[in-house]
């Protein structure tokens, strides 16, 4: 399965918006290349806080002769994420991963809509180079409440320039791009004739539900990266389940986090 528990060091941190930042971790030794959509569970090494590790989707991964570089994006939502903003550089960090099921990059074809809301950008940004290598065309829908909360716009523009994608921005208040919720903007464009083979999305659950609904109405496949509270990230605590179509549950940490929207029983969510 390629899951490992390793010690890394906090190598760099950069503020992205007023409440989000990126982390770069230096991994010494072997670590399997994560598939876009896979995640890691991390916590500062040796400490007792927070009690659980926290799950973060991989935003980038590079290797050199001695090890790897792991990029993550963090939105400050509470004390545990705030602590990552204060943690001194070079602090040892326990990293467990790569975990879960990622996006089906190997089967991607044609034209994709990549839909990111909130702090949902990391797995999609990380997927783009692989999609470009396969000749898959992409439109990235980037949504936020307001212009100052748009995460990663600079990096997305660079990716669009190098791999021929398009970026469509929407803000709830209209302060950047189109006004409105991102799934509404997406459907408006589909109505206007945009054709997509698949919708790949990551973001808040309400947005994912709306994307799933667009996919259902338009008969388009949708691959959603879900987020849930997790104690273990390994499939054994059963704390992160979502109801499965046809009964039972799917574990966000094992069957997901990327799950085909049609496999979820939305009526029981």
């Amino acid at each position: 399965m390629g899951r490992r528990n390793v010690t890394a060091r906090l190598a760099a941190r950069r503020d992205l918006t007023e409440d989000s930042f990126s982390l770069r971790l230096r991994l010494e030794g072997a670590f399997d290349r994560p598939i876009p959509g896979q995640f890691v569970m991390i916590r500062p090494a040796g400490g007792s806080q927070p009690f659980w590790r926290r799950a973060f989707s991989v935003a980038g991964f590079e290797t050199d002769g001695a090890g790897g570089w792991l990029d993550l994006m963090v939105k400050i939502v509470g004390p545990a994420t705030q602590a990552w903003h204060e943690l001194p550089l070079h602090t040892p960090v326990e990293v467990l991963g790569p975990l879960g099921a990622g996006y089906p990059v190997d089967q991607a074809h044609g034209r994709l809509a990549l839909i990111a809301g909130g702090i949902g950008l990391p797995p999609l940004v990380y997927a783009i180079p692989g999609l470009a290598r396969r000749g898959v065309r992409w439109d990235l829908y980037l949504g936020a409440a307001t212009a100052s909360r748009l995460v990663g716009l600079e990096e997305c523009s660079r990716l669009a320039d190098t791999s021929g994608g398009r970026i469509i921005i929407a803000t709830d208040d209209g302060s950047a791009g189109e006004r409105g919720l991102i799934p509404v903007v997406l459907e408006r464009r589909i109505d206007a004739g945009e054709l997509y083979d698949s919708l790949w999305s990551c973001g808040p659950m309400a947005m994912l539900r709306a994307v799933a609904e667009v996919a259902r109405r338009r008969h388009i496949e949708a691959q959603l990266a879900l987020e849930e509270r997790m104690a273990c990230g390994l499939g054994v605590c059963l704390g992160c389940v979502v109801p499965a179509a046809g009964g039972g549950h799917l574990r966000v940490c094992r069957e997901g986090p990327v799950i085909d929207a049609s496999r979820i029983d939305w009526s029981r969510m």
Binding site: M1, R3, R4, A231, C232, L234, L238, G239, V241
Partner: protein
């Protein structure tokens, strides 16, 4: 000194070392194989199994607390048939010591799980989860009523000759009375403690953190309580083998439980925090034995010295 002997015996069951995976924290035995191979443990207690698959509780099911966590998973499991068919053969082939954790909504359901396992073979023993409401007698938990517990234990005792453990609830009104009842019903050993009922609240949403409102507290927060309970039962019933659990994270924690009277220990929530914790505990236990010139880890059981 030479390598210490970590093997222990719990009510007739021999274990290579005293560290077992606690029920509900290690899947069905193979889920963490890549990070913690089950054959290196003293044994694995499976996720609680019922006669039929069970969907469990609504979300949210877990909450982080100070030095611990709450869970209300609702005993979600694949059912005893799927376990015996899909997982048990591999565990047996690999030489894993498998303790099946058993629960049901009625005494007959407990018995049905054991009977199904008996036909499969290769199981080392059973652990009864009695922190479960008895639907057939008004929802009282089996583990809270000594008479009910004794009857349940006896019914299960009659269904198997393999070692039978009863996992005691710390929420019972009289712990020692339930311990006595389980022994009277034929239990070979007692494991304690199960989680302690607790609650967490989100102050901004003004709602409980768990969909079921209440859940079971585990992790280092409960360790002193668990230790006290193990020692209390050991004092009252010194001849009864005990398996101690509750917040164990290190080899020294395991030693503490053994000194208090446990013959073996289980590790649960610590596995969530770090999946190879049990392997480290085994190493740390061996290191403790070397440092203190303890030839046999089994000699630690009940070796607590009172302050005079």
């Amino acid at each position: 000194m030479t390598t210490p002997d970590l093997s222990v015996t719990v009510g007739g069951l021999e274990l290579a070392n005293p560290v077992l995976a606690a029920s509900g924290t290690f899947g069905y035995g193979l889920d963490l194989d890549d990070l913690c191979p089950p054959e290196r443990l003293g044994g694995v207690v499976t996720k609680g199994l019922s006669p039929k698959p069970k969907a469990g509780a609504p979300m949210p099911r877990i909450a982080e607390t100070a030095c611990g966590m709450l869970n209300a998973i609702g005993l979600e499991n694949v059912g005893v048939d799927a376990f015996c068919r899909d997982t048990l053969p591999t565990l047996v082939e690999r030489g894993v010591t498998v303790i099946v954790n058993v629960f049901g909504a009625s005494p007959a359901e407990y018995r049905a799980v054991i009977q199904r396992c008996e036909t499969a073979g290769g199981i080392a023993g059973y652990e009864l989860n009695v922190s479960c409401p008895n639907v057939s007698s008004g929802g009282m938990e089996f583990g809270h009523d000594p008479a009910l517990l004794e009857e349940l234990t006896r019914l299960c005792r009659d269904a198997t000759r393999r070692p039978l453990w009863v996992k005691l609830s710390p929420n019972a009104p009289d712990l020692v009375a339930t311990a006595r009842a389980a022994v009277a019903g034929g239990a070979d050993a007692l494991s304690l403690i199960n989680t302690i009922r607790g609650m967490a609240i989100d102050p901004y949403r003004r709602r409980p953190e768990l969909a079921r409102t209440f859940g079971g507290l585990s992790g280092p927060a409960v360790l002193p309580i668990a230790l006290r309970m193990v020692h209390e039962v050991h004092r009252a019933l010194p001849a009864v083998p005990l398996v101690g659990l509750g917040g164990i994270e290190t080899g020294l924690d395991a030693v503490r439980f053994m000194l208090a009277g446990a013959s073996a220990v289980q590790v649960g929530t610590a596995t969530f925090r770090r999946p190879d914790t049990m392997l480290r505990i085994i190493d740390e236990l061996a290191a403790y034995c070397r440092k203190t010139n303890t030839d046999r880890a089994a000699s630690l059981t009940g070796a607590l010295e009172e302050i005079s």
